[in-house]
């Protein structure tokens, strides 16, 4: 019950942070990515701020040895750089540069029920399902 609450709270804070910082607005994101247009550095500050906070906190958290509500920490273990990482990131970047939205903001923005966001969200889910279809061993 407690871990469910904190999982939900994390998502809630994440969504609020994305919204307040403007990351759910494609015009803000594209303002950063379109470096030849009227450049808006906001995204850089948001990422730096978030990464900075995470940098400090994750050391403190991992220093405890064990999480409070689970048996052990679950951390990504992969260190390899393969074609999928590069191809996937490249494709993701193209989609990001097209629409100005990435997965987190995409989910949050969809709650507005505005048609462009709903279309993006539906297509994003479809894209993820497409991955599962093409790479069934990695799905899950």
């Amino acid at each position: 019950m407690k871990s469910a609450f904190f999982a939900g709270l994390s998502g809630f804070l994440f969504a609020l942070g994305l919204g307040i910082s403007g990351m759910t607005r494609p015009d803000v994101v594209l303002g950063f990515l379109d470096v030849l247009g009227a450049w808006d550095p906001s995204l850089l500050f948001v990422m730096a701020g978030a990464a900075g906070v995470y940098f400090v906190l994750y050391r403190l958290v991992l220093g405890r040895g064990r999480p409070l509500l689970a048996g052990a920490f679950q951390l990504p273990t992969r260190r390899d750089i393969d074609e999928r990482l590069i191809a996937g990131s490249a494709l993701f970047g193209v989609g990001w540069g097209l629409g100005g939205i990435c997965p987190g903001p995409g989910i949050v923005a969809a709650t507005s029920l505005a048609l462009p966001f709903l279309v993006f969200f539906g297509a994003m889910v479809a894209g993820m399902l497409l991955f599962c279809l093409l790479f069934p061993k990695d799905a899950g």
Partner: protein, 138 residues
């Protein structure tokens, strides 16, 4: 109006689920099998995280609607293409700006540095090209 439609759709979906589950032997609601809370508690942290996000979105929609404004000159077709690429690319690349950029870069992961530089590069290039083609975002 669209909120009303969504709520109606959800109610119909819940009704369909109830009909489907009741077709064998009806179970008492009190046994909690149809309880939304129970479903959430057993759904795993990913689903719980997602629900939290959606609740955050709803709060934003009421408290700060300007955060969810769509003010770019992009057609629905472009948004659909963008969504497909983002969804597929994120799974293939095992992450996105939040996963690789915010969580893994501070862990000094070379894997995430490569991923972040790659999507930044293609992101900037795409945005610049599309921006020139369409005459800018805002």
């Amino acid at each position: 109006m669209s909120l009303v439609l969504v709520l109606f759709a959800l109610l119909m979906l819940a009704t369909a689920v109830a009909l489907w589950r009741g077709r064998r032997e009806p179970s008492s609601l009190r046994e909690g099998r149809l309880s939304v809370l129970r479903i959430l508690l057993e759904a795993g942290w990913r689903a719980q995280f997602l629900v939290g996000m959606l609740l955050g979105g709803v709060v934003l929609a009421f408290a700060m609607p300007s955060a969810l404004a769509f003010e770019v000159d992009r057609s629905l077709v472009v948004m659909a293409a963008a969504g497909l690429l983002v969804g597929f690319g994120t799974r293939l690349g095992s992450g996105c700006t939040s996963g690789h950029g915010v969580c893994d870069l501070p862990r000094l992961s070379p894997r995430s540095l490569v991923a972040t530089l790659t999507f930044m590069a293609t992101g900037v290039l795409t945005a610049v090209i599309v921006g020139r083609l369409l005459g800018g975002a805002a």
